[in-house]
């Protein structure tokens, strides 16, 4: 019924150019939020951040706890007041501090709605009253509000819960009520603060697909906070990976996974094998396990670099094919996890590699083999402070 731009249409939109006026649904410019730690030191939770979110886009803010993703979301909702910067939603400034007249629109006057991590359903109201509440506030008309709330409950698949209190419901049911409440007023922007983190895995998968279908159908702009990379990959049109209050990388899920911009992103999204070394020339990196062939960006030639690679890109081979990037290895650990076999291999003098193979477990612990990777699957990155932790294994 609503004519909206297809969600993917704005996915290419990456304009975070502070100088240019933007036509995006949500524009964040230079937003900084500092908290004062006990003892007086100011700690930036969000640090001079720019971000454009297109109309109908599903943007996921991804990062570990403390990276600033929830603070940024709460700044959009008006629940936190940034220290400085500017936030525009739907073409209207809702917050501005630092230059020009100060603007700080109250949460209730912003054209957004929000789904909370704890659901935040009011225990003294029925499901119907909870869902009708935003309409009563925004338009009045109790009867119409109740009718619309009834339809919203049907939309999220729980019309039978209308007269129940939150205390009588399961976690999954409460989440559906919270979702209905976030969608009922038809706001153009819906904010999600880790809304799926409190239910078990099966319910979470189900709700995730329903949420995605609803967003595509209703066409609202979604900003979604999570620390779960799997959730982020399956929901997002674009992912913003946050680190220490800044955007480390902004891109489609494929870009984030296959072309991580830093060791931090590579480590946080998926499992990453990491090797440190010295880039000798545009195709060679000298490491502990010998020379690795990879495409080295020009700027990194002659510098220490970090090599990141995905476990599923490695292959265990038998025989002695004379390919580049092949090393003899020892199987330190072999685990069959259902959809694949996971190996921990020892290469060279103490280097460990995680290698995933989609077949059955065909190599036993202690056996010897050879391991190889296509040079195109080795990502050459600048060294960052997390690099010394070595490869991760999950």
């Amino acid at each position: 019924m609503t004519a909206r731009a297809p969600a993917r249409a704005t996915a290419e939109h990456t304009g975070t150019d502070p100088g240019e006026p933007s036509t995006a649904e949500i524009v964040v410019r230079g937003v900084t939020k500092t908290f004062t730690r006990r003892g007086g030191a100011d700690v930036p939770a969000v640090d001079d951040l720019d971000l454009d979110i297109g109309h109908g886009e599903f943007l996921v803010l991804l990062g570990p706890s403390g990276c600033g993703k929830t603070t940024l979301l709460r700044c959009l909702a008006g629940l936190e007041t940034p220290s400085r910067g500017e936030i525009t939603i739907g073409g209207r400034a809702v917050f501005r501090a630092g230059r020009g007249a100060r603007v700080d629109v109250a949460p209730e006057a912003r054209p957004v709605s929000m789904m909370f991590q704890s659901y935040a359903l009011w225990p003294h109201m029925t499901a119907l009253a909870n869902v009708a509440y935003p309409l009563e506030n925004r338009r009045g008309g109790r009867r119409e509000a109740r009718a619309a709330a009834d339809r919203a409950l049907a939309l999220v698949g729980v019309p039978e819960l209308a007269e129940q209190y939150p205390g009588q419901m399961s976690g999954g049911q409460q989440q559906r009520i919270a979702l209905a409440r976030a969608l009922v007023a038809g706001q153009d922007v819906v904010l999600f603060d880790e809304p799926l983190s409190n239910v078990d895995a099966k319910v979470r998968d189900q709700l995730r697909f329903e949420l995605l279908a609803l967003q595509r159908r209703l066409g609202f702009t979604a900003v979604y906070v999570t620390h779960d990379q799997h959730e982020a990959m399956s929901l997002a049109t674009r992912i913003a990976v946050l680190h220490a209050g800044r955007i480390e990388q902004l891109g489609t899920p494929e870009e984030i996974y296959n072309r991580p911009a830093s060791g931090y992103v590579a480590r946080f999204v998926g499992v990453s094998n990491e090797l440190t070394g010295q880039a000798l020339d545009p195709t060679t990196v000298q490491t502990d396990i010998g020379e690795v062939t990879a495409r080295v960006p020009t700027a990194l030639v002659g510098h220490p670099v970090l090599l990141a690679s995905r476990p599923e890109r490695w292959r265990i081979v038998t025989g002695t094919p004379d390919e580049p990037n092949t090393w003899p290895a020892t199987v330190d650990l072999a685990v069959f996890v259902g959809s694949r076999s996971e190996y921990m291999l020892g290469v060279g003098d103490g280097t460990r590699l995680a290698v995933w193979d989609s077949g059955a477990t065909s190599h036993t612990t202690g056996s010897r083999c050879r391991v190889t990777i296509d040079p195109a699957d080795v990502r050459v990155l600048p060294v960052d402070e997390g690099a010394d932790e070595g490869s991760s294994w999950s």
Binding site: A3, L79, E108, F116, R181
Partner: protein, 580 residues
């Protein structure tokens, strides 16, 4: 099919609707201003009122006959009774939290004993029980001694003495120590003690080397809290100390203002400031100690350990716990009840002469007591409602609109009257509002304002904890759903705070309707309240009516406290009942 009321085509530029500016913001700002003025204004006016006469007032205070003795009395009474209260309070807390002498209901009743039987009723009750000649306990002891051939004509107990005074002080200080120490023990991981037991230490050694040292900050904090309460306690020393010729600071201040003519207000203010400084010092020490204790005794989630089996000590331990409740609540109340049913007070109870004359006189016949009861109950209802609702609005407004230092300051000011003694607050109201330009002397309005200020800390503490239990996300969700602060407060926050506020309301009602310290200074014949009339009756020696009045007040207090405890526990269960 899209079911929401979304327009078919999105507007070109989604307009942010102008924020609806409700009256809640300005209203709460006005309320905060009024409260700050009421809390800080009178003491400032009082101190400023001394003005140039301050030197004269101080020298008059120093020249008071018996000043040194009075101050020494105050120190002795407080140090000894606080010491006794610490020993008993710790023992009770340990028995109830850590041993199989534990009785579930005792741990709920013990902290509220001073509310069930207000100190004035307890003090009068003990006067009736243990005065040398007509005391019931003395009568019983003499009768028992007579049976074995020992003739005693007077005594042997005398509550109008140092031991008597310290005894009743101690009874009312114990709950303060118990409350803090029991809370600390509840948060102390029993595994620490179990580790000591496994390490080969006996129960007594564990208590001495592990348990008590772990809760030492709480013990010190409880002792200081008891000291603050004891220093400001007026009812017990005025009933028991006056007859024993032991005067303490609180009694002297009130006497200078009410019993001397013309009232020596300036001298009373100087002594009131001494009291204020002493209470403030103790209070600050307590805050400092408890703040440090947070770092000293934190354990994560308290796990329930096995209770220590006391064996043959279990029965005597329980008897001790029950004995405390007996001498603090049950016996004084029985003493009051018996006298209220007799034509006059005598050590020999005449069961043939039981009558309700005193009750009908107090409730119906005598105008003064009748008016006092009506005033006290009405003031209790109105002041409790005003204080609790006001505190709820202030707590929510402070959290919504204020940040950092300003929020701390506003929340701190609502607690400030708790750090002044009641006597000082009442004194300040006399100095600032009784005379011109306000001329509130002898009015119910003066009492109302004083009560609201006096018991604002209790209302504010319960409002803040009720608000904390509601939690931020529920209010934030309402804001994001388009409800401005006032509407959020009315529709979401206030309904959810109700159980906590109800408990706070009951507490303030009981404290106001049974108040004596402020009442004795602010009430007169035109605005009598229970507290002031009780003391009048005591002074005049009309014991049956005095006892009847105390019985009525105690019964009302106890009923309100017990019902509210019941409701609060029920309130906590309400959602699960719905769940059922």
């Amino acid at each position: 099919m899209v079911v929401t009321a979304r327009p078919a085509t999105p507007p070109a530029t989604p307009a942010v609707p102008p924020a609806r500016r409700g009256l809640f913001g300005p209203g709460s700002a006005l309320l905060v201003t009024a409260v700050v003025a009421l809390v800080l204004g009178p003491p400032m006016v009082m101190v400023a009122g001394l003005g140039s006469g301050v030197g004269q007032a101080v020298s008059a205070a120093v020249a008071l006959p018996g000043l040194g003795t009075m101050l020494l009395n105050t120190v002795i009474a407080l140090v000894i009774s606080t010491g006794c209260a610490v020993v008993l309070g710790c023992l009770f807390a340990w028995l109830d939290e850590r041993t199989d002498a534990h009785l579930g209901w005792v741990s709920r009743i013990l902290p509220v004993v001073p509310l069930l039987v207000p100190p004035i009723a307890g003090a009068i009750g003990w006067a009736l029980l243990a005065s040398p000649n007509a005391g019931f306990l003395n009568g019983a002891i003499r009768a028992a001694a007579g049976l074995v051939g020992i003739e005693i004509t007077s005594g042997p107990l005398d509550v109008f003495s140092w031991p008597g005074l310290v005894f009743v002080y101690t009874l009312y200080l114990v709950p303060h120590v118990y409350l803090t120490v029991a809370a600390a023990l509840r948060n102390l991981d029993p595994a620490m003690e179990e580790a000591a037991r496994v390490g080969g230490a006996g129960p007594a050694r564990v208590l001495r080397t592990v348990t008590l040292p772990s809760v030492r900050p709480a013990i010190l904090g409880g002792a200081l809290l008891a000291g603050v309460f004891g220093l400001a306690l007026y009812s017990v020393p005025v009933i028991l100390g006056t007859q024993a010729r032991i005067e303490v600071l609180a009694v002297t201040v009130v006497r200078l203002l009410t019993a001397e003519f013309p009232p020596r207000t300036d001298v009373a203010i100087v002594l009131g400031l001494v009291l204020f400084l002493a209470v403030t010092a103790l209070y600050l020490a307590q805050v400092a100690v408890l703040r440090r204790s947070r770092f000293a005794t934190i354990s994560g989630r308290a796990a329930r350990g096995t209770r220590l089996r006391l064996g043959r000590w279990r029965a005597p331990s329980r008897a001790l716990l029950l004995g405390y409740l007996l001498v603090t609540a049950v016996l004084p109340f029985l003493g009051l009840l018996v006298v209220s049913l007799q034509p006059f007070w005598s050590a020999n109870i005449r069961f043939s002469a039981l009558q309700l004359d005193a009750f009908s006189e107090v409730l119906v016949g005598r105008r003064l007591t009748r008016d006092a009861l009506v005033n006290s109950v009405l003031l209790g209802l109105v002041a409790a409602t005003a204080a609790v609702l006001g505190a709820a609005v202030i707590a929510y407004a402070a959290r919504t609109y204020l940040r950092g230092t300003l929020r701390t300051l506003v929340n701190g000011i609502t607690k400030l009257p708790g750090t002044m003694s009641h006597i000082v607050v009442a004194l300040a109201f006399v100095a600032a509002l009784a005379g011109p330009p306000f001329g509130l002397a002898g009015t119910v309005m003066l009492l109302f304002l004083a009560y609201v200020v006096l018991y604002l800390p209790q209302a504010s503490v319960s409002a803040e904890s009720a608000l904390a239990q509601v939690g931020d996300p529920l209010a934030e969700a309402s804001r994001v759903c388009g409800a401005p602060p006032g509407r959020t407060f009315r529709r979401v926050v206030l309904p959810l705070m109700t159980p906590g506020l109800a408990a706070g309301w009951a507490l303030v009602f009981v404290l106001v309707s049974g108040d004596i310290t402020a009442s004795v200074m602010l009430a007169g014949t035109t605005n009598p309240v229970v507290g002031s009339v009780t003391l009048d009756l005591w002074t005049n020696g009309t014991y049956p009516q005095l006892a009847a009045l105390s019985v009525v007040v105690t019964a009302v207090s106890a009923a309100v406290v017990l019902v509210s405890m019941r409701l609060t526990r029920g309130g906590g269960r309400a959602p699960s009942r719905r769940r059922g």
